[in-house]
Symmetry: C2
Subunit: 307 residues, 2 copies
Amino acid sequence: MKCKVCKADAVVSLPSHNTAFCKEHFTKFYLKLVSEGIRKRSLLERDDKVLVALSGGKDSLGLMYALSELGYDVTGLHIDLGIFESSQKARAVVEDFCRDKGYPLKVVELEKEGVPMPLIKKHIRRPICSICGKFKRHYFNKVALEDGYTALATGHNLDDEVARLFANTLRWDQAYLSDQGPVLPAENGFAKKVKPLFRVSEFESANFSFLMGIPYHHLPCPYSGGASFTGHKLLWRDLELRSPGSKRAFYKGFLDRGQPAFAAIAQDEKSNEVKPCIECGCPTSAVTCNVCRLKEQLRQSIEESGK
Amino acid sequence: MKCKVCKADAVVSLPSHNTAFCKEHFTKFYLKLVSEGIRKRSLLERDDKVLVALSGGKDSLGLMYALSELGYDVTGLHIDLGIFESSQKARAVVEDFCRDKGYPLKVVELEKEGVPMPLIKKHIRRPICSICGKFKRHYFNKVALEDGYTALATGHNLDDEVARLFANTLRWDQAYLSDQGPVLPAENGFAKKVKPLFRVSEFESANFSFLMGIPYHHLPCPYSGGASFTGHKLLWRDLELRSPGSKRAFYKGFLDRGQPAFAAIAQDEKSNEVKPCIECGCPTSAVTCNVCRLKEQLRQSIEESGK
């Protein structure tokens, strides 16, 4: 197969775009996917100070690299979850990557915050992935706001977004369907959140990081017991094979024609006010935020187990 | 496995309802699915005069039988498509069924109307299934209105509805999503249309007709080249296997929380007026209706081929 642009040997074939590229033109194609997505859906302004959440996986590192190449002011943020060897490896990958590329990096250590995931898992009997997500979002938002970043970027790719949208659509979850998209504007004490890889498939993202020589962390979390959405991702793999471009069409169609319908009926219902948490100041619709409540639960559980 | 109600040996197992039934209690269960659906979504009034579209398949014959058992005033309507042996067999099945059960039956013969499907297929180069659907809907509506029926019932089951809803959702087709449901009220010269089997799965429908001893026609149309929606139906079979009840939850969720969102934004746009076709009087947004235009195309093509 030949590169669509220069007719050199192609290294990546993309049936969903009905094309193939050499390394150079795939890189350009990838960066264009990202920059056009940012422009078309108004994700970032040129003067945004962007905090990029870096897990150490292919998506987040590729995103950091792409945003930097596109000229954005980027700083990495890694949350060290404190899950033994797994977290050490992920952190080392992120630190090495940022050092090599000269990117500024911030690290939040949940161990130092008193809430490493192993301790939470031991004391709080609720699905750990969901709690871990809450803590990550909490610290992403906190760092972004406290340190003056105007946007928080995460590496969710098209496959992530489609799997999530599909799950929300199967349930016709009005609240999620009215909100889901590649940009959530800053409001109520939350920083603006953007997903600049929303047009990039998992396959394209993996190829980009591989071709750019980014050494990413690819072991699953020891607590996850298999990736989330696996069933739906397989279903979409089959749909995409039968009809290349299905994922993109589904997600784009949603943004153009689905989300607006749900956003219109949701406006009336968005009255539950958000105030600062009395403990930490982060926005919450309750008196204390989710994370502060979890911390309190943890404190009590530790106290009781010590008796 | 035992019947959930009477503990006799079960003849039908229904994972999606987490239950199993003997013949007697499955029949009751099926009739309750139908009658509750009719009541909950306001499909029919007690005094409706119902015209039931009878193709001769398991769904339409089962529907006729169920509506009659539930005490509705029903008349069958069969459209003889004129497709050689296939149509003769289907018609014989319908006629025998209605004679045996004592149901009134009307038959429209497309041959007599000058538009048998083989002639159309020969002269009009467009997908025959789509044209056939237009003709069937045209005559269903025409007979219902001219003969004073207040509702037109079709045998679309849950699997049909889910496959169609899924296709419309993948495209986020606002017009279809604002309209799709088990009832379309009478308006603009169209009779009320209802789908009383919208809560009955294909499997349940097949079991009902089998257990009631209804001898249905089960050969695919020789023109169809395989059923429509096959890919999506397979996908949903897998989803349902992984998570029984998914189909029902998806369709019910749509009716409760999806359709209203699209209906709300569609209201502004429903301004394209419907007037009677100047040829046949049937409602159309053009000057002559779809079917009259196709008839004219056919007439011209026959004339030209005769030259």
